[in-house]
Amino acid sequence: MNPGVLKPMIAGIPVEYLLILACIVFSIGVAGVLFRRSAVVIFMCIELMLNSVNLVFVVFSKSLQQVQGEVAVFFVMAIAAAEAAIGLALVVAIHRKKKTSFVDEMNLMKW
């Protein structure tokens, strides 16, 4: 790393700790997407992954002294809200038809 550009500490916390925390949370989110069956819980795990990426955005924004990273977090949040509305509406619509919200019982697109 170039120490002149990348500040190694943010408010007394090493940058690496924050990034590794984000990596751990992202991996847990991936595990949730792979393990769970309920569509809504899978959706929550995707939110977890989005949040860990937000943390990386903020950390690099502060570490490289570029304020755009925090603006990007705002956009990620707006798109996550849109995704929540559409995704949950889809889950409700499918549940009305198929009486299930478990992804391994949905085979509408299988042929």
Binding site: L21, V25, L34, M44, N54, Q68, V71, A81
Partner: protein, 204 residues
């Protein structure tokens, strides 16, 4: 190794980080979806705490308002609408070979990510933007060096983030508003009872 107890911010980071990881694990492994949702709210609050500790007050506030407030209320509402029964984890879990395979994939992903962090190469020719030379938030609102005028600055986290958003990213901001409008319309259409049927047989 930095001394934890000399440095209250590092101590807070470890507390919030521990709550974050424990909450995330709870979201994945708790069999009841409602408990998962509540644990996810806890996770969001811990992440907001980390944002606040490293000084991004605006993002911390948005985290609480948008994620813990809006999105999670939506999720809990939908969970109440669905017929709930405890699901346990997937049928994959009963198959020992696949269980090991999935665990290996996840652990490998974590190791790869951590290694990528350790040898990441940041862009080396960046000048600070939105920060003053002393490291505080500062965004120039007028051009420096105009005749007889001092430059005007936006100061503080929220002001600087907002200034950057409305000066540098105005078009994406407006496009996001259109996206949200489209999402609202799509959710209303998808939520209708007789989707795609003129006569209405109650089917999707």
């Amino acid at each position: 190794m930095v001394g934890v107890f000399d440095n209250p911010q590092l101590l807070l980071f470890f507390i919030f980080g521990g709550v974050l990881i424990a909450g995330a694990l709870g979201v994945v492994f708790h069999p009841n979806p409602i408990s998962s949702a509540i644990l996810l709210v806890l996770t969001f609050f811990a992440l907001a705490g980390i944002y606040a500790v490293i000084g991004s007050i605006f993002v911390a506030t948005m985290q609480v308002l948008v994620y813990a407030g809006a999105i999670m209320v939506l999720v809990v509402f939908v969970l109440m609408l669905l017929s709930l029964h405890e699901e346990g984890i997937t049928k994959l879990w009963n198959h020992p070979f696949k269980k090991v395979l999935v665990l290996v994939v996840v652990v490998l992903l974590g190791v790869v990510l951590v290694n990528a962090v350790r040898e990441g190469i940041p862009n080396t020719d960046l000048s600070p933007k939105g920060y003053s030379s002393s490291g505080t938030y500062e965004y120039p609102l007028t051009q420096a060096g105009e005749e007889g005028k001092k430059p005007v600055f936006a100061e503080g986290n929220t002001a600087v983030v907002g200034t950057s958003m409305f000066l540098d990213y105005l078009l994406p901001f407006e496009i996001v508003s259109i996206l949200l409008l489209a999402a609202v319309l799509g959710a209303v259409i998808l939520g209708k009872k007789n989707l795609g049927k003129k006569s209405g047989e109650g089917d999707v």
